[in-house]
C-alpha cells in the first residue's frame, strides 16, 4: 500500500465526517472567493485599450455643479487632446424608480470616436447623427424591457424638470457594460434643461503618456474662473464612486479574515477529533518502525487532502455564481462575480494551507507521542 492509498483510505473511513468537513470548508472558501472577487471588481474597474486613454473633466466643487458648454472649445485646443465630448448624467427614470439604469446625454458628433470600445448594431451611427430624439440602448436593457429598435420610450427627469421621449435607433454592447442608455446632448439642451451647461466632459488623449500633461493643462486653464475643473483619468473617476461607498476594503478584508479563521477552526477540530480516535493505530505504526516524519506526513497529508477537496467544492460553487447576473441586487455596482483564474489558484492554495496548518498540531502531537503513552491513552 502506498502512502497515497493509506491517506485516501483513512480519509474515507468516516465518510460522513469527511463529507461534512469538505462541505464546511467548501462553503467558507466559496464565500472567501466571492468577497475577493467583489473587492477586485470594485477596485479594478474593467479597462479597455481606449478607456485608458480617456479622461473625465468635472467641476472642482462636486459633480452636482455643471460646467459651461464653452469649455469644450477651450479643451479641444489643449495639445494631445484628440476628442472632447460632453457627457451628462440625466438620471431619468423609466416608468418606475425600481427600473434604475444609467442614462447619459452625450455629444453626438464624436461619440463613436470617443467610445469605440462599445459594439454598436448596424446603422446606429448614421441614425444617431441624423435624428435628435435618437437613443442607443445597451443590449441588456433591450432584453430586460423588451424593447426593439424603432420603439419610442419616455424617461422622466429627476435632476431636470423635463420628461424626454426617445426613439431607440440602435443598441450597444460592451465587454463589461451593456446596460447603459445614451442620447444626444443637444436634445437635452433643446428641452430647456442643461441650457449652456454640461455635467462632465470626456477627453480622448492621443497617447497614455500625454494624460498627466492634459490633466494639468486643463485644470490650470480654468483656475480662478467661476467654474474650476478637476480632471482625472476615467479609472480614477470611477474609483471615486467606490471610495464614496465607504471603507469597503477594510470591511471585506476583515470579514475575509474571519471566514478564513473559521475554516481553520473547523478543519483543525476535525483533524484533532480524527487523530484522537486513531491514537492506537499511530502507536502501532510507530511500533512496527515507521519514523516520526512519515507519521507527520500522513496526518498532514490527510488534513490537506480534505481541505483541498473543500477548496474544489468552493471553486465549483463560485463558478456557479458566476453565471448569475448580480447587477440586479447591487444597483449595478457589481455586475458579475466571476473570479479570475489566478484567484481560483490562490483559493486552492489557501485550501491546502488551511489543511496543513489545521493538521499541524494534531500531527505533531501524534508523531511525538511515545508508543506507551499512545497505547494507554485509548486503553
Amino acid at each position: 500500500m502506498t502512502y497515497g492509498t493509506f491517506i485516501r483510505k483513512n480519509a474515507l473511513r468516516n465518510k460522513r465526517r469527511t463529507a461534512l468537513t469538505v462541505l464546511s470548508v467548501g462553503f467558507s472558501l466559496f464565500l472567501l472567493i466571492t468577497l475577493q472577487a467583489v473587492l477586485d471588481s470594485l477596485l479594478n474597474p474593467p479597462e479597455t485599450e481606449e478607456s485608458t486613454l480617456r479622461l473625465v473633466v468635472r467641476h472642482a466643487v462636486s459633480l452636482g455643479q455643471s460646467l459651461p458648454e464653452s469649455y469644450q472649445r477651450d479643451i479641444e485646443k489643449v495639445p494631445h487632446v484628440k476628442y472632447v465630448a460632453p457627457v451628462e448624467w440625466f438620471g431619468g427614470q423609466y416608468k418606475d424608480p425600481k427600473n434604475f439604469f444609467a442614462n447619459f446625454s452625450v455629444g453626438h458628433e464624436n461619440f463613436f470616436q470617443m467610445f469605440p470600445d462599445l459594439k454598436y448594431s448596424e446603422g446606429t451611427e448614421e441614425a444617431f447623427m441624423k435624428e435628435r430624439m435618437a437613443a442607443i440602448a445597451g443590449v441588456d436593457l433591450m432584453e430586460k424591457f423588451d424593447w426593439s429598435i424603432g420603439d419610442r420610450i419616455t424617461l422622466t427627469g429627476t435632476f431636470y424638470d423635463v420628461d424626454l421621449e426617445f426613439r431607440i435607433v440602435g443598441t450597444c454592447e460592451g465587454e463589461y457594460d451593456s446596460s447603459t442608455f445614451y442620447f444626444r446632448h443637444d436634445y437635452l439642451q433643446e428641452s430647456g434643461a442643461a441650457f449652456g451647461t454640461v455635467g462632465t466632459f470626456s477627453i480622448m488623449a492621443d497617447s497614455a503618456e500625454a494624460i498627466p500633461g492634459i490633466m494639468e493643462t486643463v485644470d490650470e486653464m480654468f483656475r480662478n474662473s467661476p467654474a474650476e475643473t478637476k480632471t482625472e483619468s476615467e479609472k480614477a473617476f470611477q474609483l471615486g464612486f467606490v471610495s464614496m461607498l465607504g471603507n469597503v476594503q477594510v470591511l471585506i478584508g476583515s470579514i475575509s479574515m474571519v471566514v478564513a479563521f473559521t475554516m481553520l477552526l473547523v478543519a483543525g477540530s476535525t483533524m484533532a477529533m480524527t487523530i484522537r480516535e486513531r491514537l492506537r493505530e499511530v502507536a502501532i505504526l510507530k511500533a512496527i518502525g515507521f519514523p516520526r516524519k512519515v507519521i507527520l506526513g500522513l496526518v498532514l497529508g490527510e488534513a490537506s487532502a480534505v481541505s483541498f477537496l473543500g477548496a474544489l467544492v468552493g471553486i465549483g460553487l463560485s463558478k456557479g455564481l458566476a453565471t448569475v447576473n448580480v447587477g440586479a441586487f447591487t444597483a449595478d455596482f457589481v455586475r458579475t462575480i466571476d473570479p479570475e483564474p489566478a484567484m481560483l489558484a490562490i483559493a486552492l492554495g489557501v485550501g491546502l494551507a488551511i489543511g496543513v496548518i489545521a493538521g499541524l498540531f494534531p500531527a505533531i502531537q501524534a508523531s511525538s507521542m511515545s508508543i506507551n503513552e499512545a497505547m494507554r491513552r485509548l486503553e
Partner: protein, 388 residues
Amino acid sequence: MIIPIQYNVRYLRARWTGTLITAVTFGLVVAVFVIVMALAQGLDRAFVTSGDPLNLLVMRPGVQSEMQSFMELEQIQIIETLDGIAKGADGKAIAIPELLVVVNKPKIPDGDPSNIQIRGTGSQAFEIRPQVKVVEGRMFEPGLREIIVSHLVAKRFQGFKLGDKPRLGKGEWTVVGIFDAAGSAYDSEVWADQRELSEEFDRGGGSSTIVVRATDGAAAASLARVVDKDVRLPLEVKTEADYYAEQTASSAPLKAFGTFLAVIMSIGACFAGMNTMYGNVASRVKEIGTLRVLGYTPFSIVLCFVFESILLALIGGLFGCLAAIPMNWVTTGTTNFQTFSEVVFNFAVTPKLMGIALLFAVAMGMIGGLLPAVSAARKPIVDCLSKV
C-alpha cells in the same frame, strides 16, 4: 421523561476544548452577521431619528432627495402666507427656504474624496430641529460667509475644524461653530445661511425646498391638501419623517450583503456543528445505551442532543454578540446615492438585533444537532451496550 439539562452542561464542560472550538465557530458567524447588520441599522437610525412629523418639506414632485428639488422665489412667498403654519420665537411664520448643495472634499486620513452635504438654512431651523445643538463656538451670522459643521464631519473631513477656512464654491468660508445633531442625518452636514450659499452657488436666491412647521397634525394634513390643489404651486408636501423614512432605502444593499454573508457562513458552520455533534454522540454510545435501559424514550434522547447542540450554538451566539458590542462606538460613513453625499453614523448593535442573532444561533444549533440526535436515538440498545 426528560433527561436533566445538567447532563449536557457537564458534558460540554468536560469536553471544553471541543466545546470552545465549535462555540467560537458559531460565535464568529454571529459576530459577522451582527456587525454587518449593525452597519445597516446605524444607517437607518441616522435617517429615522431625523424626521419630525410636524415639519413639512415642500418640494418638486417626484424627486428622490431635497437636493434634486428647486423652488422659485415667488413660490416661497406664496407658501409663507398659507394657514396652519406655526409662528417662531420672532413672531414670524416658520417657513424656511433651504438650499442643498454638495462639495467634494478629501477625507481624513487618506485624502480619498467624498461629498459633504451643505445645507443653506435660517436661524428658525434650530427651533424645529431641537436635536441640533451648537456645542463649540457659535451660530453662523446671517449675511456672512460663515458655516457651522457637525462634529462628525469635522472629524472625518480635512479642513473643517473650528477656525478653518474651507473653500465651498467660489471662495473661503469660516467655520465658526461645531454642532451635534444627536446621531441624526444632520450629523453628516454643514450648515450655512441660505442666501449667502445661494449666492455662492449662483442659484439667484432660490432654494431646494421650503421647510414649514405645522401647528398640529390636522394643519399638516390640510397644508398638504392646499398645496396640492393650488395651481400656482406645482409642488408636493411630505412630512420630514416620511422623507427620511424613504432615505432608509439606501441601507438595502447592506442588508442584502449581511444576509448573504450570514446564510453562506451559517451553512458552513452548520456542517461543522454537525461534525462536532456526531463526534459527541459517538463518544457517548455507551451512555446513550444506559439512558435507554434506565427508561428514557428515544424521543427524550433526541431532545437531549438537540438541546445540547442549541446550547453549544447559544454559547457561541452570546460570544459573538459580546464581540460585536464594542462596534457601537465606531463611527463610519457611506454615501447615500439619493443625495449623492456622505452619511456619517455609528454602528448600532441594538438589543433587537442581538435578539435576532441569538435566534439565528438557536436555528443553527437546531439544524446542526437534529441529524446527530436522531442517529443517537435510533441506535439499538444492545448495540450501544456491546460497544467498547
